[in-house]
Symmetry: D2
Subunit: 241 residues, 4 copies
Amino acid sequence: MSEALRVTVWNEFRHERKSEAVKAVYPDGIHATIAAALGEHGFEVRTATLDEPEHGLTSEVLEATDVLIWWGHVAHGEVQDEIVERVQQRVLAGMGLVVLHSGHFSKIFKRLMGTTCDLKWREGNDRELIWVVAPGHPIAEGLGEMFMLEHEEMYGEHFDIPPPETLVFVSWFSGGEVFRSGCCYTRGAGKIFYFRPGHETLPTYHNPQVQRVIANGVRWAAPTVIERVFGNTPPHVPTEG
Amino acid sequence: MSEALRVTVWNEFRHERKSEAVKAVYPDGIHATIAAALGEHGFEVRTATLDEPEHGLTSEVLEATDVLIWWGHVAHGEVQDEIVERVQQRVLAGMGLVVLHSGHFSKIFKRLMGTTCDLKWREGNDRELIWVVAPGHPIAEGLGEMFMLEHEEMYGEHFDIPPPETLVFVSWFSGGEVFRSGCCYTRGAGKIFYFRPGHETLPTYHNPQVQRVIANGVRWAAPTVIERVFGNTPPHVPTEG
Amino acid sequence: MSEALRVTVWNEFRHERKSEAVKAVYPDGIHATIAAALGEHGFEVRTATLDEPEHGLTSEVLEATDVLIWWGHVAHGEVQDEIVERVQQRVLAGMGLVVLHSGHFSKIFKRLMGTTCDLKWREGNDRELIWVVAPGHPIAEGLGEMFMLEHEEMYGEHFDIPPPETLVFVSWFSGGEVFRSGCCYTRGAGKIFYFRPGHETLPTYHNPQVQRVIANGVRWAAPTVIERVFGNTPPHVPTEG
Amino acid sequence: MSEALRVTVWNEFRHERKSEAVKAVYPDGIHATIAAALGEHGFEVRTATLDEPEHGLTSEVLEATDVLIWWGHVAHGEVQDEIVERVQQRVLAGMGLVVLHSGHFSKIFKRLMGTTCDLKWREGNDRELIWVVAPGHPIAEGLGEMFMLEHEEMYGEHFDIPPPETLVFVSWFSGGEVFRSGCCYTRGAGKIFYFRPGHETLPTYHNPQVQRVIANGVRWAAPTVIERVFGNTPPHVPTEG
């Protein structure tokens, strides 16, 4: 526990290189902004992006990762199935996974959920209020009862996910929608946290409360077991019945 | 299953006798309006109110009740502990319980939850949108993805309840709040459904969608076992270990 | 509700044609035994098997199926991905799915769970006691507190599944293992029930209590919505925020 | 996080003063054995017992307690309701609670659960195997897939508790029973862990794996918020609706 948790921030990193509007908000990419924030929260952070070899997610990188953060949007289909499989196996072995915003449609999240992960959305000018519904949960630590994002893309129900094992946040949007915006799951020995905000044209990941939620999510998702200790072969010989 | 479910609608029945504004909306009491609606849904319905002997909840009545509906507000403290205990034992034995609106602060609900059941509230002029977050759940049957109550009292998070075993509805209020407004629990062999809407001065219980939710809640909460079949004494003699 | 639920019993149907030992127990196949039992419970039942065209699971069949039952073991890999995809989409749209025994390793179950679904096992001579841990749940209806299978294959923890939304049964095995043997999930609008017993060489599916559990599972998993009513496009135009 | 967690171990402390058999196993009381073990795990530990003034649970003690451990058996009825109320309020405000063995029938546990908390039991000569069903959970950290207690009192299902929010352990008993023996709950801002083993005549609390589970339980139940930060009064003035 005295060692710093090792976090890898994965970003598709396409918007920021093509759109001046996005580049103006995240000049070095969304991953760089999140990585800097997590560094200040005391984690050992590296980044990886889609266009690196093996998307930057080699076996060596994953074996040195306690918690993986995932942001993707327009290029989910370009993520190779082999890498998705590798990430899934690592999650089942205990690596934490924090999925952000449009990552709801990533191959890895859909594979771990088993559903379409579809939702409503609108790029408008909504205000988002994020309410805490699990006040004692580690992911809500240090937040008040609610925090506000003055402008965000709307995501609305029905969000086609399995019922969260723990629901931490519910969002209110000025246009009339609600959304389960902080959702915890376990899969194998791994913990998964989905957190809603983070449209690429908006400064959401510069917001200190958003950064705190992601940092809290990393701590919550940190592995207790980083390899499957349970060989599933029978430990007992047959008995007399 | 061919027999009609037997429902008892319990109401505090104080507002309707003291306030002209409430009487105008529910001339025979909230219980009468709900009972009539449930009768049309095919249930065998009776009512009971606070000022009847034993609050109308004699052992005979409870033994002939499959699902009990509870509305109370200003007189929670007048409900005798002995009757609360009787209702709790009946729920644990399998009777369904549907708790409405300000019933969140009733003795029976707090006792079954173990928490304060506190929440935010405002008698204003809010609009309420009730979103379905569990589309395949029996309690959401026949509803669309959302329904609206043009005017309702606001209830806001944090709602101090145990995390619902199933969350069916989330409400949006025009003032900026959200609320987990359809919550399912089991206690013993009994099923409990909390449903938020129903301020006494508003015609909420005349709304066909609200009536449908209550009817769906009754069907969902109907007992599969109406007495504890499991005597908790060891069925096995000690073995050789 | 007055119409009979339409059940399709799917079976790999390989063991029964190759092994005299299995044929002796299930001369017409496991599916035939289960189908006959469900017919007696009042359902409208058909069967489908692996070696039929499209594995017997054409779009027409699935559209006429309320609940699909799945038994497979040695030929999971032969089930075409296209059919698995079709079944998954139908489950998400509301069709119930009851997965039996070695179906834990089927493509459809693993895809809906997102985990390995691995477990311990032993073909020995274990006795299995199946304890009810959710006495008010519809799937436990009509059972006592426990029922026994004198001989069954052992399945042991850790069973690598997401935490069940509702755990109905826990099995005890004479060799020293336990197993979460009745597990409920929702995915999209669909309900999924996994039920452990049913080794092919043993008369488990002739057991009236096992038959009752499967029938209860069919009733619980029956759809409330059989098509996605929720088009996930925003119903509101942007507001002034 | 750098400060040690403050643990109070509460024990009824009656068996140990009346029974030579119990005194032989726990000469200074069960609380002393548990306190010593938790001290070695790095916590700041104090103890409290039934016959102290206010049962040793003054407001000052509770305000200086992050996690309370509870063992009781023959004198549940002697615990004053006022103290139970005080402990409940502190749990709802964020204090962790670890309830051991026969504490299942304590006033505080029943009040937080809302059920009878009844179970089967047998003082025989059972062997208990405790299986991990949530391998990535912090409470399972450092354990293998199963650990054994050569002799323990049997507790069997049905255990009349609300469905655990997380089920960590399931016990197997040689006499044929199973039991949900590691159960996690949240109530308000507080976390509650029930752990089954610990009959007073047996050396269970000297077992290093049992001690580790209790220490893990303390870390898991540690508060993130130790006072209700959420004043439940509406933060918004009425809007135009």
